[in-house]
């Protein structure tokens, strides 16, 4: 269990369930293994593992077209690599979806040595995709806000999981 100042996987899982997520299309990153174990133990949640983050966009679009409520769980590096798939499959098809994005390199202090963090928010602003930062359990309501906004906009909304410095995985 994470300490009180961290973002616990149980909190993320609770938000997913409360917001009706049926399927998680995902690719592992360094911070989400404990969440993976929780998700795998839930018989009502389908996990679809991909080999490249952009693939998750079209899978999620197909799930939505067929009546499911998917969520994507990827890392910021993969999000940036997925730009055209986000544009074409999520924004173009107007898929209301939350992307939980691991914020690799985020230090909270604005000073980092990882360009994955440097370009993450710039990427989202360039695409005009709304985003919310969650750093600990106290920020959990922002996840619910993201789900509501995705429905209102009929498009993708990103939740940046900025808890690497705490160790979300533990």
């Amino acid at each position: 269990m994470a300490d009180a100042g961290a973002l616990s996987p149980e909190t993320v899982m609770r938000q997913m369930k409360q917001n009706g997520v049926t399927d998680v299309v995902w690719l592992p990153d360094s911070e989400t293994n404990w969440l993976f174990l929780l998700m795998r133990a839930d018989p009502d949640l389908r996990l679809v593992g991909v080999t490249r983050e952009g693939h998750a966009c079209s899978i999620a679009a197909g799930l939505f077209a067929g009546g499911r409520k998917p969520m994507m769980l990827i890392q910021n590096t993969g999000m940036m690599e997925s730009g055209d798939s986000i544009r074409g499959w999520l924004m173009g098809l107007k898929v209301p979806i939350v992307l939980m994005v691991g914020y690799r390199g985020y230090t909270r202090h604005g000073v980092n040595s990882d360009t994955a963090a440097t370009y993450t928010e710039r990427f989202l602003m360039a695409f005009g995709i709304p985003f919310y930062l969650v750093e600990n359990d106290g920020d959990a309501d922002r996840i619910a806000i993201a789900f509501k906004e995705a429905e209102a906009l009929q498009g993708p909304v990103v939740v940046l999981v900025g808890d690497e410095y705490h160790g979300f995985n533990r």
Binding site: V50, T51, R52, H55, S58, A61, G67, R68, S85, G88
Partner: protein
Amino acid sequence: MMHTADLLKVFAQHRGDAIVISGRGGRHWIEISDTTLDIPLGDPAMGGHSGFGLGLALAQPGKRVILFDSEGDILMSMGQLATIAEQAPANFYHFILDNEVYATTGGQPVPNAKHVDYAMIARGAGYPRAFNFADLDAFSAALPGILQAPGPVFVALKVWPEVENTPIGQRVRWRKRGADKVVRDLRGALRVG
């Protein structure tokens, strides 16, 4: 080699009530059928059709989902084959139209165009059944059996290229509905949206 229009006419006889993602065969399929269960998306982002087909098949296990993908899309997203095989939707029928070129950009050959065995790749990724056809009579004879057995199945079809080389802005738009409307229409037909 087959003509895409000819093989789609053969397929139409066996379509039943399946959802058809017309993919790279879209401009011909729309002349055959354009109902709410026909999904002409154009090309939202290359390489993604197989993922869309997988997602739709998983969401609607009671409906057969047919996809006409391409070899260029497969080459761009080969890892999708492993994901599809792992999920193994029994209602997913994955056809590819292999014309050996990037037809919409002027007909440049795809890498190693004449020597890639896509059915073998699909089988290696875990598809339980995979086929190659280059002849319309052989395809016509085998198709009913392919569609009667459970998926996921992969069917590679050698087709003649239909090369376009006019600037994109000058091309005649063949789709009658935008891609987002196609999705909304489908959700309405499925009573999920």
